[in-house]
């Protein structure tokens, strides 16, 4: 073997382990890129995007006083388009009090408990989706930054572990579809890479809004596994891993998805 060929083999050897199974940064694509032109047009026009109805609800809730403290989000945070700019891009984030990551919905509920002294919104409730949609809307066009905090390292590792763990009667890991076969179809639908750039989303199949957790539970049911409970630590770890896997991609929330 010539020295040049040896060098090429050595470089290949060095490059391969880093890429094994994972999608190269240049090949990453948002769910938006897999959609039909009609669905893209629906998302792009704020007066046709049904998720904007949820954002409208969120704007009302933002300024509505609630709880024993009789405070609205606006009373502490001020205008949402200033105070919440870029916030959704860095969630799930580390919460020092619980020494664990919390996602955006949990963060809203923590705020409700601690500062408004109000009852937490139920997972997937209209109110929680409306507030998270409103907050996520303020990060539209910004790059995802989640997972950068070093305190999140063990949770990221757990999320990655769950992502490659086979589960359910079909014995499939997330990675089997979304890392290895994202360029193919399952029946008529694109498999996609599972890049969570637009949550909460308006999903046409649901005819309604839903969080990333709802979407993940749908996938788990699809491989006939026992879906994680809402807000379970493993659910948050998986969300965290997915967001960090999409780090640098652009937020397009609140998105429309088929």
């Amino acid at each position: 073997m010539t020295p040049r060929a040896l060098l090429a083999v050595a470089l290949l050897g060095a490059a391969l382990p880093a890429l094994a199974g994972e999608i190269a940064t240049a090949d990453r694509r948002s769910g938006y890129d897999f959609m039909s032109p009609e669905t893209k047009a629906m998302q792009d026009d704020d007066t046709a995007n049904p998720a904007m109805l949820s954002v409208l609800d969120g704007e009302t809730l933002w300024t509505t006083k609630a709880g024993a403290a009789n405070k609205s989000c606006n009373d502490c945070h001020g205008a949402v388009d200033v105070s919440m700019k870029g916030v959704a891009a860095r969630y799930p984030a580390f919460n020092a009090a619980s020494a664990a990551p919390v996602d955006l919905g949990q963060r809203v509920n923590l705020c409700r408990g601690q500062h408004q002294e109000a009852e937490a919104f139920a997972p997937e409730s209209r109110e929680l989706l409306a507030l998270t949609a409103l907050i996520a809307r303020q990060s539209r066009g910004m790059p995802i930054t989640a997972g950068g905090d070093p305190r999140l390292t063990p949770f990221l590792a757990r999320g990655r572990e769950l992502f490659v763990q086979r589960q359910g009667q079909l014995n499939l890991a997330c990675a089997n579809c979304h890392d290895d076969n994202w360029d193919k179809h399952l029946a008529g639908s694109s498999i996609t890479q599972g890049q969570p750039t637009g949550y909460p989303i308006y999903r046409l199949e649901w005819q309604g809004m839903g969080s990333l957790q709802r979407r993940l539970r749908g996938c788990m049911t699809g491989v006939r596994a026992q879906a994680f409970d809402f807000d379970a630590p493993d659910m948050i770890a998986l969300e965290l891993y997915l967001m960090s896997r999409a780090r640098g991609m652009t937020i397009d929330a609140p998105a429309v998805r088929p």
Binding site: M52, L53, L56, D57, Q207
Partner: protein, 106 residues
């Protein structure tokens, strides 16, 4: 909470054809579905949509159970004079929602 998104151009030239887009928040429960216990989920849909311009009706649509949640309706009209569009959605269980938008015709 009924929320509507209405898109009407703020300005138009006289005689121009303009597009009006409306999106209404509604579950549009068709009345054909059953709960896990086997009970029918009662029908709850928007049955009628009307658009008036300066009091005169210019567009009307009847809606039926097969129409998806959060109905999106778009239609065209000719900008004849400045004025106000009024939109009204009427549905089951006494549902009524209204919205309006003004246009300046030059």
């Amino acid at each position: 909470m009924a929320a509507a998104l209405v898109n009407v151009p703020a300005k138009a030239r006289r005689g121009a054809v303009i597009e009006i887009k409306t999106l209404m928040s509604h579950v549009m429960e068709p009345g054909y579905r059953h709960t896990a216990a086997g009970e029918v989920v009662p029908r709850d849909i928007i049955t009628s949509f009307t658009c008036r311009f300066n009091g005169a009706e210019i567009f009307r649509a009847d809606l039926y159970p097969a129409i998806a949640a959060n109905p999106f309706l778009s239609f065209f009209t000719t900008a004849s004079e400045s004025g106000k569009f009024e939109f009204e959605w009427i549905g089951d269980n006494g549902f009524v929602a209204t919205a309006s938008a003004a246009i300046t015709v030059e």
